[in-house]
């Protein structure tokens, strides 16, 4: 039965065109919100079916359990960012920073971005997967450079160039993999389709796969923000409009991760242990460097970007460990991070618009100036650094637990050390902004379109941390078992 996977692309693309045709920026924003909501609605039956263990596969499309998780995450993050964009951009329009036409263009690109990211998760061929990932870069480049300030242009330039280099290297990896699969499968046009590759994985040539995976992890790792290929990330995150930063951090990085995971699953069968080693290595490096960067950052959005690097590192470690427990933790951590990071970005966005600066040393008296934002920022900070009862805590300790029970004590110990450093830097920087008198001249942003997504995200991350319905847990476990080859 076909469930209309195409709709996941058609709806946002249509919405993109529609939002360009809208009379005002605000109506375009409504279109974006409606589009994201529709995407979630459409994806639900597909994802539920996929999570139940039944993959959807026809034409170009392939949706299985793993993709379902990412589709849902992108859907939710997209919806929240669309809502937040409404208030955020109208404030920019009020302050004459951008025009109403810009706002419409923004929403067009926003919807295209959503479409591109969704398409990453639903295509079958690894070659097309590469194309879609490249498209996400191209579309988001316009969003990153949306404010045509010099610094934004600089960030976009770096983003484009570095990611293009990365993605080119990724394609080398795909080529090498294709070489080995066509060796086994002959001249099959489906030789790049993931299910086919996965079936044939055991027969693939180990040397080729090793080399392919090196290229893949460097190539897509650039996009995912693994150190030392992460260099574009803080620039792009800090210069783009806040809702876009949230999207980049909580959805786009996941897309690249998704691609790596697909390859890792193949590589794990073909060359057991090799991909894991690289994942742990890069994960640890990312975690370490992110910890250092967080300790010295002054710009709030750059700090959040480094925090994304940190979490991507933790997730990579989780998948690298590869036991069902660790993979379960990593999957959970993907969700947890994606539900928490936008919350922090949005509250940071309020601070930035309210105080007119991104420099954390210049922000004081947040608790009295913007009580709601301060509360959300505080809660989000506690959540993102991994304190209970928020979900990131559960993800982190599950991954740690995976490391410990796999006997990788050194991995666990190092992870803990860096988590502590991140914790120290992050909380110091954020809580320094809280006390003090009401800041004069701060223009407190208000509005339901800002507070609602923040409140929703807080509730989601809280509930995810506290409770997990058996259905969700079973679905995640089944992915974990499948991923780690335990089935």
């Amino acid at each position: 039965m076909t469930l209309g996977v195409e709709l996941l692309i058609i709806i946002p693309v249509a919405a993109a065109l529609l939002s360009l045709a809208m009379p005002s920026g605000k109506t375009a924003a409504v279109v974006s919100v409606a589009c994201s909501a529709a995407v979630i609605l459409v994806s639900l039956p597909i994802c539920i079916k996929a999570l139940g263990g039944e993959a959807t596969e026809y034409g170009l499309w392939y949706v299985d359990r793993l993709s379902a998780v990412f589709i849902l995450v992108i859907g939710v993050v997209g919806l929240m960012s669309a809502m937040y964009s409404y208030g955020y951009l109208s404030r920019d329009v009020e302050e004459k920073e951008i025009s109403s036409k810009d706002e419409r263009q923004y929403h067009m690109m926003f919807n295209l971005f959503v479409a591109a990211m969704l398409s990453v998760c639903i295509v079958s061929s690894m070659g097309i997967l590469w194309i879609t990932i490249e498209i996400t870069t191209l579309v988001s480049a316009f969003l990153v450079g949306f404010y045509r300030r010099n610094s934004a242009l600089e960030a976009t330039w770096k983003y484009l160039m570095i990611c293009s280099v990365g993605i080119t290297l990724g394609l080398v990896g795909i080529t090498l993999m294709y070489a080995s699969s066509s060796h086994v499968l002959g001249d099959d046009p489906g030789a790049l389709n993931w299910p086919v590759l996965y079936e044939a994985a055991a027969g693939l040539d180990p040397t080729l796969i090793k080399m392919a995976f090196v290229f893949v992890i460097i190539g897509f790792g650039t996009k995912m923000g693994l150190v030392p290929m992460h260099t574009w990330l803080p620039d792009a995150h800090s210069q783009s409009p806040t809702p876009v930063s949230a999207m980049l951090s909580a959805a786009l990085l996941n897309c690249a991760l998704y691609a790596i995971l697909r390859f890792q699953m193949i590589a794990d069968v073909a060359v057991p242990g090799f991909a894991s080693m690289l994942m742990i290595g890069f994960g640890m490096l990312s975690l370490a460097a992110a910890a250092a960067f967080i300790l010295i950052s002054k710009d709030i959005k750059r700090m959040l970007a480094y925090s994304s690097i940190e979490h991507m590192g933790i997730i990579a470690i989780g998948f690298g460990i590869g036991t069902p427990l660790a993979v379960f933790g990593a999957l959970f951590h993907i969700i947890a991070h994606s539900m928490t990071k936008p919350l922090v970005f949005f509250s940071a966005g309020n601070v930035i618009q309210g105080y007119g600066t991104r420099d954390m040393d210049e922000v004081r008296g947040l608790r009295k100036t913007m009580p709601f934002t301060a509360f959300m920022l505080g809660a989000g900070t506690l959540a993102i650094v991994g304190l209970p009862p928020f979900s990131v805590f559960v993800g982190e300790i599950t991954i740690l637990s995976g490391a410990v029970s796999a006997g990788m004590y050194h991995v666990a110990a190092l992870t803990v050390v860096f988590i502590v450093l991140v914790f120290a830097g992050f909380t110091r920087n954020i809580f320094k902004m809280m006390p003090g008198d009401v800041a004069t001249g701060a223009k407190v942003p208000r509005g339901l379109s800002r507070s609602l997504p923040m409140a929703l995200l807080l509730v989601i991350t809280l509930l995810l941390g506290l409770f997990m319905p058996e259905g969700v847990s079973n679905a995640l476990w089944s992915i974990a078992d499948w991923f780690s080859g335990a089935v």
């Binding site: 304190l387 300790i397 637990s401 803990v416 006390p435």
Partner: protein, 651 residues
């Protein structure tokens, strides 16, 4: 108990507090009162835990909603319910003092956080699944951190937060390690994992547990946050932090080390190391408390000292497991747990005392208080009880537990290789106990006795509503001293139930004949009141006159100063203090210089400052890689690519 009632009891205890969390967040004038009363109700219910246990046995309940790691369940056994009860009473007292205290934050959020803390503490003490325990324990840290934020004390609170988080992660790791060996997440099914884990792994876990919980209890060198935070946080936060959350740490540490991991006789060396660490902590706490000038800082170091004694007892328990009789092990563990309980009662009383005194005088420095006993006799009596209990003076509770500590140290003779260690242990308990007593005498003497030491007069007297909870705690100090042997017996029973140490009553039976607090108290009281009664009957004239002044009128400042008071001891232990002599210009006169001595915490100056400098230096070094030059960024990619390719080729 019947399952239905278990659930009912737990919901009667926890649900009001959950509502309290929500209610406190409502922006309303009555939010604080409403939230605090809900929390009070919960604490009242919590206080019933032990009576209910005696009536109906273990309370166990599984929450209807599961976590990511399976169900949340709660098991309130013998030991947990006893500690929950006492902690709840303490909580209740602190809470009711908070309602009227002038210095307590007025908004509802504080009460809301108190509710959170209560829930977290109770759940941590009776968690039966790993996830619940870890979550609750970390939430305790979180709630105390948020409760301690006040004004500009961000740095102190942050230090606490980071150090506690380090500890929290250590605890988490140790539990994860245990979980990887145990089958299942249910804590009550874990026992004697050391047989599965092997000695090195279980030693590692025990070290992690000691250090992890030690960060909260002030184990050296993780104690640096304590003085700053205690002195800058709201009184009630410090009170709850040093009592209730310490109880949680002690209980969970105890259960994990002696129940879940189980101690085996190969851990001799580890036990000695832990003993040394906790002894050093105890002496350090006592030493540093002598030079502090703020009552709350004294209390911080005193908490450190007391908790170190508890840890000392636990490490002795490990030591004794190598050849000691089960009775002896039980006794020393009872001493530790009992001391923790006692500490929570007398320390909360003392914290409230200090808080009330600060409210009344508006001063935070001991140097500027004084003469409160004459103004508020009832207050001074209650506080005297606290001070006497802390100084381990009979017949109050601190005496009973320190007595048991010394007794078990003395009784441990003849065990493998302990000839030198035990006497040193006795010396540690003796010297740190006495030093602590000195510093409490100083605390009480300079706060309550003598003439007021500043021109500022006491602005308001302590109210009955503030005094009432303190009276309750004072009575508890007395009662726990009088009924010490009974409580020890119950604790011994609890220890038998939650560990694998075989229960052995021989020592306890012997004890009942030796430690006879009621008898001591009786004789003491009879003789004191008989003599004072007699002297009332044969009353002589009594006149009031000024203190002998050698002919010069005495002013406020012409009294012995608190710094001078401890100076002889400081001189004796001089090499250990990190005191710095500073020479500065005197503002009042150009030609004069002013000498002052600053007591800097050496661990902060010599360990933490260099460490953080090192970390920041490293971070800046790493930060330089992000130099803004896109060419370098391409370079990183090229280098990584080539390196990995070559590595894959040749390895």
């Amino acid at each position: 108990m019947f399952p239905v009632y278990d659930g009912l009891y737990l919901s009667l205890m926890l649900v009001p507090a959950v509502f309290g969390v929500v209610v406190g967040a409502v922006p309303s004038k009555h939010a604080k009162a409403a939230s605090a009363s809900l929390c009070g109700w919960s604490a009242l219910m919590g206080a019933l835990a032990y009576p209910l246990f005696l009536y109906g046995g273990t309370v166990s309940y599984t929450f209807p909603v599961p976590s990511a790691w399976g169900p949340y369940s709660v098991l309130m056994d013998d030991l947990s319910s006893m500690i929950v009860s006492i902690s709840s009473v303490v909580f209740l007292a602190v809470l009711s003092h908070m309602m009227r205290s002038a210095s307590a934050p007025r908004n509802g959020k504080y009460a809301s956080l108190a509710c959170t803390l209560f829930i977290a503490c109770v759940l941590a003490m009776c968690a039966d699944t790993v996830m619940l325990l870890l979550m609750a324990w970390e939430t305790v840290t979180l709630a105390t951190f948020l409760m301690s934020l006040r004004g500009k004390n961000g740095t102190a609170a942050w230090k606490f937060f980071v150090i506690a988080h380090v500890g929290g992660l250590m605890v988490i790791c140790s539990f994860l390690a245990m979980a990887s060996y145990a089958d299942g997440q249910t804590l009550s099914s874990w026992s004697d994992l050391s047989t599965v884990m092997g000695v090195p792994a279980s030693c590692g876990v025990i070290v992690l547990l000691f250090v992890g919980f030690g960060t909260k209890l002030g184990l050296i060198p993780f104690h640096v946050w304590m003085p700053d935070l205690y002195s800058s946080a709201p009184t009630h936060t410090s009170a709850l932090m040093s009592t209730v959350s310490s109880n949680v740490a002690v209980l969970v540490l105890f259960k994990s080390v002696f129940g879940y991991v189980g101690v085996s006789d190969e851990m001799y060396v580890l036990a000695v190391i832990l003993m040394a660490a906790s002894s050093f902590t105890a002496i350090w706490g006592a030493l540093e408390s002598l030079v502090q000038t703020e009552p709350k800082r004294i209390l911080a170091y005193s908490s450190m000292e007391n908790m170190a004694l508890v840890l000392l007892c636990f490490s002795l328990g490990m030591l004794f497991s190598d050849g000691g009789s089960p009775g002896l092990i039980t006794m020393v563990l009872v001493a530790g747990l009992f001391h923790a309980l006692n500490h929570s009662v007398f320390k909360s009383l003392m914290m409230l005392t200090v808080g009330s005194a600060e409210d009344c005088t508006g001063e935070t420095a001991m140097e500027r208080m004084g003469g409160l006993a004459k103004l508020m006799p009832a207050f001074s009596i209650v506080s005297l009880v606290a001070v006497l209990s802390m100084a381990a003076v009979p017949p109050f509770n601190g005496f009973a537990s320190e007595w048991l500590m010394v007794q078990s140290l003395m009784g441990g003779e003849g065990i493998h290789m302990t000839e030198i260690i035990l006497p040193l242990g006795v010396a540690v308990v003796g010297i740190s106990g006495m030093m602590a007593a000195v510093s409490y005498a100083r605390l009480y003497g300079f706060m309550f006795l003598g003439r007021p030491r500043s021109e500022r007069r006491v602005s308001k007297m302590i109210g009955a509503s503030s005094l009432a909870p303190m009276v309750l705690l004072a009575l508890l100090c007395f009662a726990m001293g009088i009924f010490a042997t009974d409580i020890m017996g119950r604790l011994a029973g609890g220890i038998g139930a939650s560990t694998t140490i075989p229960s052995d009553d021989s020592y306890m039976a012997h004890l009942a004949g030796t430690l006879n607090v009621p008898m001591l108290a009786g004789i003491l009281l009879v003789s004191v009141f008989a003599v004072s009664g007699l002297s009332r009957v044969f009353r002589k004239k009594s006149t009031r006159s000024p203190t002998w002044d050698c002919g010069t009128p005495l002013t406020e400042e012409m009294q012995y100063s608190s710094v001078g008071f401890s100076q002889p001891l400081v001189r004796v232990f001089h090499p250990l203090y990190g005191d710095v002599m500073e020479l500065s210009d005197d503002e009042s006169s150009k030609d004069c210089k002013r000498y002052s001595i600053r007591f800097a915490e050496p661990f902060a100056e010599r360990l933490y400052v260099p460490l953080s400098n090192l970390v920041m230096k490293g971070a800046k070094y790493v930060g330089r890689t992000q130099n803004g030059n896109i060419q370098s960024y391409f370079g990183y990619i090229l280098i990584v690519l080539v390196t990995l390719l070559v590595a894959v080729r040749f390895i």
